[in-house]
């Protein structure tokens, strides 16, 4: 277990450094890292500190958060198909963010944007869990997720279409696919409290999730308060997804792919899968964000496109496996 921890941490740090030295301005890797630390007021320092550093930090926070949320949801529902993007929570969070921006809430209140996205995410999680039931049957869960995504997506498009701003309508893609391009340190500060509170809440329930693998009755006899567990998980997931979506749009599949790959390495134990998925999510999103900048640097390729290209085939594979399990 500790070996996995070391490998994942090293991978995350390595990608963080690569992420800092990749960008449209052709600067040598050594020069750019020196400029980041030195801070001599040159344009190089400005680029490193105000453009690349926030982007790298956001990739770690959001990727880690999404990986953690996916692992927590899957542990609670005991269903490998649960993921914030797929069950529609990211879409409702995006709707909250878009409403906040266009109602002027984001401009008038400094935390207005993430708070509105958090509210959207909360409503999304509650509705989906309500529809799917605590047993989390795959079919109802996915169907509820599809319905929520479609509804929230349509409402998001509606708000953007009605905006008097000519650029708003073209942003539908951003809110549905997500991007870290041109985000600033302001967004890091917006996200940070939500990411940390959310992660703390999820990690605090690790023991409960382990107990749940034995079934609900067994968990209850072990002294786990299921309704409390559920509430804390919902709030934790909503914090992370709300904060992430508010600054980077809805990025899907991270919470699906990462726990799936790491599950065999942690002996399918939810508590260990939580932190492993956090690190793994940070790795996956950083890799995707580097890919976006290397493959089509001039096109602002959306992050969600890359994660979906990786994640969707895996999702189909999981559905196939689930179907065989049912038969």
């Amino acid at each position: 277990m500790s070996r996995l921890f070391v490998i994942l941490t090293l991978g995350m740090v390595a990608l963080f450094v690569i992420s800092l030295v990749v960008g449209p301005a052709q600067i040598g890797p050594v020069d750019s890292l020196v400029a980041l630390v030195a801070g001599d007021g040159s344009p190089l320092t400005l680029i490193m500190r105000e453009i690349r550093l926030p982007r790298a930090i956001l990739a770690v926070l959001i990727g880690g958060g999404l990986g953690l949320s996916g692992a927590a949801l899957q542990g609670y529902l005991r269903n490998p198909l649960a993921e914030p993007g797929l069950i529609g929570v990211s879409s409702t969070a995006a709707l909250g963010a878009v409403v906040a921006i266009h109602a002027g809430l984001a401009a008038s209140l400094s935390l207005g944007l993430p708070l509105a996205a958090l509210a959207g995410a909360l409503i999304g999680v509650f509705l989906v869990l309500g529809f799917a039931g605590s047993q989390g049957g795959s079919l109802t869960l996915i169907l509820a997720g599809i319905a929520m995504s479609a509804l929230a997506g349509a409402l998001t498009s509606l708000v953007l279409n009605l905006s008097p701003n000519p650029f708003a309508a073209s942003e539908i893609v951003f809110w549905m696919m997500g991007s870290l391009a041109d985000r600033s340190i302001v967004h890091v500060w917006l996200l940070l409290p939500f990411a940390f509170v959310g992660a703390a809440l999820l990690v605090s329930q690790a023991r409960g999730l382990d107990a749940l693998t034995l079934g609900e009755d067994a968990a209850q006899t072990m002294g786990i308060n299921l309704s409390r567990l559920r509430l804390v998980l919902v709030v934790g997931v909503a914090c992370i997804v709300g904060g992430s979506t508010a600054v980077a749009g809805a990025i899907g599949f991270v919470g699906l792919v990462v726990p799936h790959i790491l599950r065999p390495f942690v002996g399918a134990q939810p508590s260990r899968l939580l932190w492993a998925s956090g690190l793994g999510g940070a790795i996956m999103l950083q890799a995707a964000d580097i890919a976006v900048r290397v493959i089509l640097p001039e096109r602002d390729l959306k992050l969600g496109v890359v994660t979906a290209l990786v994640g969707a085939p895996l999702f189909l594979h999981l559905i196939y496996k689930t179907r065989r399990g049912l038969a």
Partner: protein
């Protein structure tokens, strides 16, 4: 049927000659002639309403309202499609074209001549041109071969986009903008209602770059259409350039 042809027509037509203009000409954000526009009946660029007005001539932009314009042509309404002004020569040529189309050749010729003289007096030879970048939503910049690029050149600035290899227009990554260290960053005017695309203009990196610069914005009123109003944009940029040069001396 087009913001730019509307404005030229309002300037050139004889009283009573112009029977309707597009709704965009009344938008104070993009139109420099809102007050004048209020005195004309408005249309929304739909083929049906324009056909019912039974005009002798419809003035449309080269690319605007393609379907409606084609429909009018099919219905036998004469349409003049005015090319998009991409240079100062185009602006003067368009004035002459519209003047001729309205049977007011002399007025059009006069306006074009005045425009050319005023432009020549504004243009001066600058020994060491300052650099400037046009920067709008989503990091879009425009190069030399555009009206705004020509306004920049006329005011004696060197366009950063040209150096970055963007002749017409395209996205200039923020990192490259900052590496180029332009003397002036001219941003677009924000539209009402927020958008994420316009967030980029408030990015801390841009703010730091501009912190020791003069503020300059391009108002769509003066920068979009090839009308005499572009001279006002050139004038204000020339003032910016002089102030910058004095400050550096």
């Amino acid at each position: 049927m087009n913001l730019c042809t509307d404005q030229l027509a309002m300037l050139l037509a004889s009283p009573g000659q112009l029977i309707s203009i597009s709704n965009i000409a009344s938008d104070p954000l993009v139109s420099a002639m809102v007050d004048e526009a209020a005195t004309y009946p408005m249309n929304f660029g739909r083929a049906e309403e324009i056909y019912l007005l039974a005009p002798d001539l419809v003035l449309a932009g080269q690319y605007s309202r393609g379907n409606a314009v084609e429909m009018l042509e099919r219905l036998g309404v004469p349409v003049l499609r005015l090319p998009f002004a991409q240079s100062m020569q185009d602006v003067a040529a368009n004035m002459r074209t519209i003047g001729a189309a309205l049977g007011r050749d002399r007025v059009g010729e006069e306006m074009a001549a005045t425009f050319e003289t005023r432009l020549t007096t504004l243009r001066e030879d600058v020994a060491t041109p300052l650099t400037a970048a046009l920067y709008s939503a989503n990091g879009y910049t425009t190069g030399e071969h555009s009206l705004s690029g020509q306004i920049l050149l006329a005011a004696g600035f060197e366009n950063i986009a040209t150096r970055a290899g963007i002749p017409y227009g395209g996205v200039l990554p923020m990192e490259l903008l900052i590496m180029a260290e332009p003397d002036l960053v001219i941003t677009s005017q924000p539209y009402p209602g927020a958008s994420r695309s316009e967030d980029i203009l408030k990015h801390p990196a841009i703010a730091t770059l501009r912190s020791h610069q003069r503020r300059a914005t391009m108002s769509d009123q003066q920068w979009v259409c090839g009308t005499p109003h572009v001279l006002a944009a050139v004038e204000s940029l020339v003032a910016d350039r002089r102030a910058l040069q004095e400050a550096s001396e």
